[in-house]
Symmetry: D2
Subunit: 385 residues, 4 copies
């Protein structure tokens, strides 16, 4: 019996964690064949080369696509996307998949959508229907309108995708595969490795055993110029609190140089003794770090998704997560040192944070593989109204 | 007082007629400055170089962008789009417009949308909210989700754009500027030029004075392989009817070689005596040709829009116009010689075809310019629900 | 024992005939593995899709690369080349060849050279050291300076490559593989097929059995605007002579639209009764057509190479072949109807045209494969003086 | 009287210093108009944004071209070049220069050469005919073969360009414009600014007033993997010598991450107290820093050119400068800590280092402008033999 070829394009390190259990389920499903394409910043050491993790996890990479332009302005985001369309068009032409999966809403994910849909290859979008606050918001909904089949992560998201005019037979709330990983960690939450010894990084040899914070703050692209100023508020807050902190460098984005610059400047001038910086970490180690932390600070979607499921207190800064459905673990604040400090202290004293299953029950990967195996793909679509 | 710079990107010959009166209104408005970019097939002689018409109409072209890849398969459509994103990103970076206008739904229009929105330039989409039947359908709605301001052409279209979650304050039913041209022609419909003498073309010196048909049939990209077969049905129908006919070559598209090939093959083998072929025509001459014709045959949106307003009987073939709102002038048929012949004969005998204003009352260009002058542009957008 | 992987990039129909016997020899050599990449106009039906011929000859194509931009000006040549560099960089990255072969001097061949040499892959150039008259002249010598190993086609060419500072140990006069094909045809020259029945084409059903001419005229890119005027001189000469003629359409080049346009215009207006037009022909059939013809007219390098070996009278028009080493079969003329007519008549009466082995003795393919198998490749090179 | 438009493309910070006095001379010449294009890494803050320096010097930039791809392997060099061809083709199409100048031999300079020559724009190459040791060697000579007019920097270089078959009337030894700047500094060598106060940078506040070293070491691209290892030899040598040192970060190149990585690793682990790091410096300040230094160490061409003229002792490491003509100021060593230490000590004690005019007498800029004004440009070229 011939297998359906499912091509998944991963363009950034965090997308890998979001999709990993679905990759495993596709790879192991008797009716499916996995074609894995690694592209964009997922290939670049500067942002934490995801390729090593992926290969260590036993996946075979079908094609690698270098497509990221350097530059300090949003033009390079547009050009990276255009280049991605051209390169991925070639890749799909040669791999001849039965369907292509594009993940979420990073700016370059629309390159996957265009390269597939223009070549009449059924397009599957994962994690549509959410609401956030920058160019991702536009990209996510445009991906929805280019896609033929939708795997969404929450009930609210499903309603939104249907309201946009998609065919109800092609929209499935599978939850988010990232929660599958979180489920395993929750069952076995022990921090069984030494972060600095295992991952190196730069900065002080902090004394984290008695409790620590985790920070992950990305630039918000439509507020490009303020990325540097924004991150300095968080740096000052963390510096002043003087609690041991693990800080993760931002993804590639226009403005990442702004954020990275701010961090480098702060390190050189203030030499903070309580912060250790990592480029990245294996997903399961990262989740262990989170579940054992006192609080996550920043604007990562990890705060909204995994931390809601894991019950990790979270201070969410700025507009990046916007209207994404939230659990009780979160406090929202502005880019303001004082607000950030107060919110962290509030979270450190919170008693009532419970685990919630807004983004799935921990079985998303298998659900996705089963639907892929049993659904007839199509690339003909008309709006429902 | 400083003027708002409005950058309009025209990527194909037919888009020019659709937008022309709006260009004039923008150019003449004291608060607006027009930046005109001509790109893609609008630059290529093979598809009827639109540049000459545009310059003869008194417009100054700010930049020309060559971006069309040759090729007989949908890959070249994807690559053309990717290249367009890269090139237009540069163009907008240098022109620094206050807003960019992308027109309708051709595959490469999304390049304009991405290049503008990713650089935080407010994006205006013209003619969203309609429903058709191929990749254009996906592209149109994706353009809607990337755009910040919408000028739609009918009430149905407006309702659809709002249902997709756009901000009601940013959606305007201005009608279609193409109807502005049609209005002028309707007031003065005399065919005051000799088509063959003025436009050359190839094929027989047909005797059109006592009545003629017009054919305009484009390939439907998601049915790429059948483009040649489809056009042969129409060619045989027209050949058998033996009524003098003006036939227009198709636009550039994957498959245009299929359609063009079919036409060339038919000419060589059947040497039809009743057909004369044109590459293209000035918009106003084309409308005069239409209003004086017995019937339009094919799958052009001109049959749905202008011909509804002008009251020209139309035989619409296949799925390309899909659910677009239609007037009483239209009969829909399949790609089938017999059906086409019967429908043409029906239309030639129809008595009750009246002019309808579904796509505007002939004042769209000015409406668009006025809204551009008075609306505050933004590039921050969140879905309404 | 591991085989050396030799990647050959073919970007145009005529390059295939030039390299075919070397491809066979590489494929059959126990120490070599052939990786065949088909790119550019070799993929386009409009210029005679070479892919079918190649696959019918039993070669497996490793990768197809669409890269030709449409357009009527030299910008599209530059952009096609740039796109080729980007695409081929990917191809070589994935195929990981031990050496890459770039053929001759078409404008896009430098894309192969850059994509290989910049990635530290040893580059082999075939047919360097010749002298012609347009952008090809610059491209050929630039290819020489990027290449590490050289297979040239004549003694004059070898001397020139050495004078340019290449390492004598890396320059081999193997002759031109196109002569290998010619040798077979010369041994068995019978015209054993009916050209029009086998290849279709357009134009009259000419009466060629009692003798015919062959025309092959390409645009000269640095004289882009005059391509149309130039070809009309030849068309008028052939028309006036009224000898049955097989005419081949030009390759893709800036200006091909000029040449093609001229041909189409002439056909529509003069309806020449003595000319039949072909897009292309299998190499061996083409050589049979040539060896049985009365004269070749145009500016193809076939006149200089194969026709010299085959002893076919040739009228070479214009500067395109420039200082390329010539046999006694050739007369050179300007783009001038009268000169062309006189030269054809001179050639029809010539008695003394003999076969010459300037470009090889018919064993080039095997020589090339043997050298590839026994030479150590390197990508480190320094000019000799 | 109409001026000749001379378009100069600068793709990297060091190219600006090499050409600056020629830019001024072109700008001020009554018969010439300067069109300045800034592209590639010259636009990127990470490598020292050259744009600010250029605009502060009073030049107007006609166009900025983002074209650098991120990546840790030579593929990104190839792709950057391909993208450059596409982008620059557009730029030249719109600027319509009478001639284009490409500078020296960085990998992406061939993009300028192709984009100009393929569009029949006369191409001028500056600094051909030299001999070095990596991909630059191939690129430089390929540039020569694409160019129509040559401004070389030494007599040896002139002889080499002529030997390659260029027209003697089109080859001029003007010397190197970088020596024009050096001449001014030599007349007024006082170090009249405080380096760390003015340029920031990172690392220790070293005590440089009593003498210091300068280091500038770039990765050698065909030895990509060893870039990190190589730079560590130099770092260890400098660390052990414990002399105050100003160290400049490398240019963008495949492998720059190797070099940069090595530097970052060394800083984190060894915390060298005697090194201060700069990204870049205004050219005249850099020359003042050099002329007052005890020794330049590394593999920059500055050691060969400016330091020979200024009489600055230089330790040249590795193969990068290869056979470039050298003065008595230089000692060549391998990538070996001990060799480097010994060579620096030798240079610190050398008594006999004199100024030499191998690369010009300090009037190159004016010579170049005068030749541009009086030479008839052409894009037709044939090899001389």
């Amino acid at each position: 019996m011939s297998q359906k070829k499912i091509c998944v394009v991963i363009t950034a390190r965090p997308s890998y964690s979001r999709i990993k259990t679905a990759l495993t389920a596709i790879k192991n499903h008797p009716k499916l064949e996995l074609q894995l394409v690694i592209a964009g910043s997922a290939l670049l050491g500067r942002y934490g080369n995801a390729v090593n993790f992926i290969e260590n996890d036993g996946f075979i990479i079908s094609e690698k696509v270098f497509m990221v332009l350097e530059g300090e302005n949003p033009s390079s985001m547009a050009k990276t996307t255009g280049l991605g369309v051209m390169e991925l068009a070639n890749v799909f032409y040669n791999l001849k998949p039965d369907a292509v999966i594009t993940i979420a809403d990073r700016f370059e994910t629309i390159a996957t959508s265009i390269a597939a849909s223009y070549q009449n290859i059924p397009l599957i979008h994962i994690q549509g229907g959410e609401v956030t606050g920058n160019i991702d918001e536009k990209v996510r909904h445009a991906n929805t309108k280019l896609a033929d089949l939708h795997f969404v992560a929450s009930e609210e998201a499903k309603k939104r995708v249907l309201k946009m005019g998609e065919n109800p037979k092609m929209v499935f709330n599978t939850g988010c595969p990232s929660i599958d990983l979180a489920k395993k960690i929750k069952l076995n939450p022990k921090l069984d490795f030494k972060p600095i010894e295992k991952y190196g990084g730069v900065g002080e040899q902090i004394n984290w055993e008695k409790g620590y914070l985790v920070v992950m703050q990305h630039p918000v692209t439509t507020e490009y110029n303020s990325a540097r100023k924004d991150v300095l508020q968080t740096l000052e807050a963390i510096h002043e609190l003087d609690i041991p902190t693990f800080w993760f460098w931002p993804n590639v984005d226009a403005g990442s140089d702004g954020t990275s610059n701010g961090i480098r400047y702060f390190r050189e001038t203030k030499k903070p003794q309580n912060i250790h910086f990592f480029k990245n970490m294996e997903p399961k180690d990262f989740l262990k770090l989170l579940i054992n932390s006192k609080c996550l600070i920043g604007n990562s979607s990890v705060g909204v998704r995994e931390c809601s499921y894991l019950g990790v207190p979270t201070v969410n800064i700025g507009s990046r997560q916007n209207k994404r459905q939230r659990g009780s673990n979160i406090i929202d604040v502005e880019y303001d040192k004082t607000e950030i400090i107060n919110a962290i202290q509030n979270r450190l004293n919170a008693k009532d944070i419970v685990s919630e299953s807004i983004y799935g029950d921990g079985n998303s990967g298998n659900k996705i593989a089963d639907i892929l195996a049993t659904t007839d793909f199509t690339f003909h679509k008309t709006i429902e109204y």
